[in-house]
Symmetry: C2
Subunit: 375 residues, 2 copies
């Protein structure tokens, strides 16, 4: 149970966390060496400026990785809080810093909310920043059960989902899913420095999405990459090896030699294929798999616009169609359309389309068979 | 003036173009070796299946790059159309193919609409696919004025924006803004193949955006990269050189040596800085620069929640605030907030905030001074 908290460092993450806690009734004290930042956070309704008179339930050290250990020592000595966590985007370095500081390790647990924005500072803060996001906690053998539970309460108050990992596994994971992608985004964006104005007009959403994160704060990202340098270098080295293969494949394809071209085609297809498979390793936006789909099969004639009318009718039913395939048998007048829809909605959709005059293949009721099938 | 057209190849682009033309009253004939694809396009309302009886105004060869030259020869011999264009995503190879085919080059102009979707085939087609997009046209010295004007009409009917370039400049540009980004997306996605389930839960929107295009059709992208292999290899080679520097910088940062670390920090900051600058070379989503902004300055007290109330009040006025800065002078009770808003809305916003009781710095009326300034 968290009734009071201190947030040390009122940047984007600290202020967002303070706003989330205030909204859930926690008394939050805002502490920042830059008094203007703390007052800005207070202006936003994130709490009151200054040290609390009594020991609070939780102190969040929202400071750079290298400062977590020293800050813990300082604030423990003053009796600021009963439990402490940090929000740094690497976890090994702060853990080493805490051990080196000689502070009491039982009241400390490392933390990293997987949330951020392109803008930094308290004015970019938002109480809902962590909702539905993963929040990694990295307890050590020294971390007390009470400290772990206080941190879990904080994560729950922010609407986030806790993930317990050890600090090394966390740092390798963020090198793969966050830090290396940032470097790659910068590498790609740096290639645009000498783009002609006409060429820049050809840029589409794909490129924009890929260079978006390259716009992140230079100093912040320099610090993050420095704190996780070895793990990022490892991933980037592996990526560089694939890149050399891709260049060699493309050079082979640019020659007139048929054998070289065939080898280039194979190498490139392998790379693109691994990309497609690797991409599927990432869960959907909210971490949930898509609901299981089932086909609703409809026979249509080949009058112009027939399929467009079916899709418009289906859309009116408010059912989200995940995919459509159509099979026109050669020489036949009609085609079989498969509308893939989420299993729970398939049966009622089939009934509605039938009622609207479409020739829908009959399906079993979902209550008599859990997997409706066309019969 | 285009009254009739033939679309040869009813995939995503061909069918979308046909839908756009039909909507503007053009009689469209759909031709595809795969009759089922042409019938599917017709089912969507994209035109009628089969060759026209009379010569049409425009034929669009929506076929792979290597097939443009042979298709032009075949259809010119049959008298299909008065003007021809293609939609291949590279332009040098089709241009060479047309020259080699011995076809009449005066009635041909290369074209490339900068639009696409992750899904392919006629069922992914959409009449509005090209609206607001750039559409590159690559006339040669042999292209007739009539052919250029017919192609410009087609682009206008689709609501797109024509960009005239030579084929070589086009291919170098798309290597930078489209083909290399695709390979890089695949390289990054391939790194996720061995991601642990816990690690995959840490993936955020940045990574999702960066690997989205890696999910594109393997065969289609293999063909595109093969057709522009040399230009993509050049850009990727330059990117690989920067990547090696980044790895070396990270390895230096991972050592304990202060000199090496300092050098690593400098190299990394240079790369990230070039990324930020390069990213700014891409115009905004619709190719327009953001409207010029001007500050509206408001004095606020330091009561908790004061800034949140101001931002809420400003939001109620429906004005889009581009940026906010706040200056709390140390020891003073009030802060000066600068709300950056589009110039045309600044004056009325200042008046409304004043009327709502806020202490707004006075601004000149926009009609007496084109650049309103605080006085």
């Amino acid at each position: 149970m968290i009734r009071s908290a201190a947030v040390v460092g009122t940047g984007l993450i600290g202020t967002s966390l303070a706003l989330a806690l205030v909204r859930r009734g926690v008394a939050v004290h805002l502490i920042d060496e830059n008094e203007s930042a703390a007052r800005t956070a207070a202006s936003l309704g994130a709490g009151t400026v200054g040290h609390p008179h009594d020991t609070v339930d939780l102190a969040v050290l929202a400071v750079p990785p290298a400062q977590v250990g020293p800050a813990l020592g300082t604030h423990q000595a003053r009796g600021l809080a009963r439990a402490y966590t940090d929000v740094a985007s690497v976890k090994s370095e702060p853990e080493r810093g805490v051990a080196a500081s000689g502070a009491d390790r039982s009241t400390f647990i490392g933390g990293h909310p997987m949330a951020g924005r392109e803008r930094s500072g308290p004015l970019a803060a938002c109480a809902t920043l962590f909702e539905g996001r993963s929040w990694v906690l990295t307890p050590t053998a020294a971390t007390s059960r009470d400290t772990l539970n206080t941190a879990l309460s904080m994560v729950a108050l922010c609407g986030a989902v806790p993930v317990v990992m050890d600090s090394g596994a966390h740092d390798r994971a963020v090198a793969q899913v966050s830090h290396t992608p940032h470097v790659v985004s910068s590498l790609l964006a740096a290639r645009l420095l000498h783009l002609s104005p006409d060429a820049s007009r050809l840029a589409g959403q794909g490129l924009r999405d890929m260079v978006r994160i390259a716009g992140g704060d230079l100093r912040l990202w320099g610090d993050i990459l420095e704190s996780n340098a070895a793990a990022v270098a490892d991933v980037l080295t592996e990526l560089g090896e694939d890149l050399q293969v891709a260049v060699a494949a493309l050079r082979s394809l640019a020659t007139g030699d048929p054998d070289a071209r065939a080898e280039g085609t194979t190498l490139l297809a392998d790379l693109l294929g691994r990309g497609i498979t690797g991409r599927d390793r990432i869960p959907g936006k909210h971490g949930h798999p898509a609901p299981a789909c089932t086909p609703v099969r409809v026979l249509i004639g080949d009058q112009p616009g027939e399929l467009a009318r079916l899709l418009a009718n289906a859309a009116e039913l408010g059912v989200n169609i995940e995919d459509v395939t159509i099979d026109h048998s050669p020489g036949e007048e009609s085609g079989l359309v498969e509308l893939m829809v989420a299993r729970p909605t398939a049966f009622s959709m089939a009934q509605s389309l039938t009622a609207a005059g479409w020739r829908v293949q009959r399906m079993r009721r979902p209550d008599t068979a859990p997997d409706p099938v066309a019969v």
